[in-house]
Symmetry: C2
C-alpha cells in the first residue's frame, strides 16, 4: 500500500502520515524504490490514530492508547483513566468557552451596532465598566 492509498483508507492526509512516521507513531516498511510500503496493520493503526485525534486526544495520549491497544494484556482501567482525564479537560474547556460566550453575548446585546462610535464592547475591554475579571 502506497501512502495515498493508506491516506484514503485512513482519512488522514499523506503529509500527516509522514509526520506520524517522523514522530515514531508508525513505522512503515520501505519498498526497493524508497516508497513507504504500508501493511494492513499500519493502515489499521493510522485509522485508530485518526479516530483518537478526532476525539481530541493529544498525540502523546494517542501514543499511550496505541501502546495499550497493542498490549493484549493491558487493563481496561488504564484506558479508562486516560479517557476520563481527557473528559475532564474537555469539560473544563467547554466551561471556559461558555464563560466567554456569556460575557460576549451580554456585550453584543448591549451594543446597538450602528454608525455611532459609542460601544459597550470596547468600553468593557477598556475596563470602563464593572466587568468580570
Amino acid at each position: 500500500m502506497n501512502i495515498s492509498e493508506v491516506a484514503a483508507a485512513s482519512g488522514l492526509p499523506a503529509k500527516t502520515i509522514r509526520y506520524y512516521e517522523d514522530i515514531d507513531l508508525v513505522h512503515p516498511a520501505r519498498s526497493a524504490n524508497g516508497y513507504r510500503a504500508f501493511s494492513e496493520r499500519d493502515a489499521h493503526m493510522l485509522a485508530f490514530l485518526g479516530r483518537a485525534r478526532s476525539l481530541g486526544f493529544s498525540i502523546e495520549e494517542c501514543r499511550t492508547l496505541l501502546s495499550l491497544y497493542e498490549d493484549r494484556a493491558r487493563a481496561s482501567a488504564d484506558v479508562k483513566k486516560v479517557a476520563i482525564e481527557h473528559l475532564d479537560r474537555i469539560a473544563r474547556k467547554i466551561g471556559e468557552l461558555q464563560a466567554m460566550q456569556a460575557t460576549l453575548e451580554t456585550l453584543v446585546t448591549q451594543c446597538h451596532g450602528d454608525g455611532r462610535p459609542d460601544c459597550p464592547i470596547l468600553d468593557d475591554l477598556a475596563g470602563l465598566e464593572g466587568h468580570k475579571a
Copy 2:
C-alpha cells in the same frame, strides 16, 4: 513605568508584553538606560489586550479591536461584527467539544475499567464497533 510594574498592573507576564511589542501591538518608549518606559496609555492598552485575549479574541482580532478603540470616529457596528464572528467560532468550538464529550462519555460508561483487558474504548478507536465517523 518599568516592565514589571506594567506587568503587575495589566496582569500580563513581562515575557508576553515584550512579545506584544515584538509583534507591534504596543510601542513603549525607552529610557536612557535602554529599559522600556511604559506610559499610562501603554498600560491601558495592555490591560485592554489582556481582557480581549481572555475573551478568546485572536491577536489579529485584538489588533483590529485596538485600532477601533483608538479610532474615536469608529462605528460600533464594526466592533459588533468582530464580536459576533468570534461568538460564532466559540459556538462552533463548543459544539465540537460537546460532540467529543458525548462520544467519550458513552465509551467511558461502557468500559468496566478493571484489570481485564477487554475495553470498549479501544474497540471503538480500532473501528470494531458501529461508531460515528
